[in-house]
């Protein structure tokens, strides 16, 4: 079986491809470039095409599938009504699947489930990463804010932190937000330098 993975995110495509590596008798092709997309898909003659929902070439690919009905191995959009649940899950995960006509239905479902799991795993990784980046930035701001207070008001580090915390409690804000405001104010006012 031949599966084409069309995704402009090379990292996500790699995660999908890796997942499909365990599937027996499965050859995969990853396409991350928009250029010559259709020619590459056509040359590969896939049984299944997986594509991320955010891909700007989706309409172009679907048009190719419509036109390909005239070909020997026409590819259909994976939209058999009995598969509504699978399709809904794949749309939720952000992946669309297209399957060559006549491909065994019992073989599609596990593959699609696998793709959905991998897409979801990638989304989790991305949001974890974004969160970690956010936390790092917040911590850096708190450190800067403490230093500003230490320099401008001659406080010790624990005192500076206490000041930030009580200000946050008084204004029912997060410490990180108070720190950010203070850093910003300091940049504008040019104090503490």
């Amino acid at each position: 079986m031949r599966i084409a993975i069309v995704d402009e995110s090379a990292a996500r495509a790699a995660i999908i491809q890796e997942g499909l590596g365990d599937v027996e008798d499965c050859e995969t092709l990853v396409i991350t470039e928009r250029r010559a997309l259709i020619a590459q898909v056509a040359a590969f003659e896939p049984d299944i095409v997986l594509m991320d929902l955010g891909n700007p070439s989706r309409d172009v690919l679907e048009e190719y599938f419509v036109v390909s009905r005239a070909l020997a191995k026409p590819i259909a959009m994976f939209v058999d009504e009995s598969d509504e649940e699978s399709i809904a899950a794949s749309v939720d995960a952000g992946v669309s699947a297209y399957v060559v006509d006549g491909f065994s239905k019992s073989r599609i479902k596990p593959l699609l489930d696998l793709a959905v799991r991998r897409f979801n795993a990638f989304s989790r990784l991305e949001s974890d990463l974004a969160e970690a980046r956010g936390q790092l930035a917040e911590r850096a701001n708190v450190d800067k804010a403490k230093r500003i207070l230490m320099n401008s008001r001659g406080l010790s580090e624990p005192e500076a932190y206490k000041e930030l915390r009580s200000q946050a409690m008084r204004s029912s804000k997060r410490i990180a937000d108070v720190a950010e405001a203070l850093v910003l104010a300091d940049q504008i006012m040019g104090t503490g330098r």
Binding site: R34, G54, N55, S57, R58, E63, E81, V91, S96
Partner: protein, 399 residues
Amino acid sequence: MSDRLKIGFLPLVDAALPILAHEHGFAEAQGLELEFVRDLSWATVLDRLLYGHTDAAHMLAPLAIATTLGIGRPARALSVPFVLGLNGNAITVSCAIADAIQPQGGLGDPQEVGRKLKEALRSIGRKLRFGVVHRHSSHNYMLRYWLAACGIQPEVDVDIVTVAPPFAADALESGEIDGICVGEPWNSVAVERGVGRIVLTTAQIWRRGVEKVLAVRTPLLEERRGAFERLIIAMRQAGEHFVDPANWDVNAEILSRPHYVGADPALLLHAISDRLRLAQGGDLVHFPDFMFQFREAANFPWVSQAGWLYAQMVRWDAPHFDPDAAKDAMAVFRPDVYRAALAGRNSPLPGASSKVEGSISNPLGVGAQQGRLVMSPDNFFDGKTFDPERLEEYLASLN
């Protein structure tokens, strides 16, 4: 408690009305909280609508009809209670082709440009390739209508392929296509980059051609009828705001933001004000009614517009004419919902829900259920008219 509605859209100027309804507080005043989901393909806008990621979508009118009829996928009933605008598209061709078919520059005459294109096809000695944004799009139908009426057979004399709007300029530059029919700002982007010239607007092909619509899953429309009626009120107010020259700058700025259209505000301003730069370094050309978003009940979903689109679908695409399908296609447009939403408000409502498209040559006062309604010429460039009551006859006349 406000009602939340999620709206899917593609980055195009004609997604303006729901966006401006949100940004200027018209939706909020109606007790609505709007949220937007920006996508880059119509397939994804449609998927999100069908699988409940969004409650309504900025959608190609023919795609809403094809989805309801089950063309290319299992049928899912969509309803169109509001037309987001008429026209707003243009035909841009590579500079070399433009020199051949519109050598004097400026906007051409559709008959004349078509005649020159036909000649050019003979002398160039290869099939030209035109891009459209989707098989089920007014762009595709308008382009084909124009070509066919000029004696050029789509599929035989020219190829028509799908190109995503944001890549129109790239595709022209790389020679992947020779011309494209696309909405703004993507024609202007190609012009600014010097890779093409605008030779025609679709408003010259059909002066009042239906373009994007607001599409909703039919069961959801019934379920949340009140919220959608209030959305219609808010979008009408946004339309009035959109066409007022005093607001053009601020609206261009809003639409230019990266989470909306994400394009140069100067180009968006051109489209909003019906002014286009047709060639790189050229003057702005004013073409009144390039986009038509508000006046003359532009947002009213005329059943006959859906009928015209269905006729084009039969003419160019898979389905054979089927009177039941024609009825279903026309029932996608929901003037009843539009009327209910705006009854008793300061918005004209036509007396009829269907008209003979292309039959108005001079400004014509038409019967109204509410307000005063004068319709301007709505001609097709070839002088044909479309009577939805005589759909089969119309189809026969095209062959």
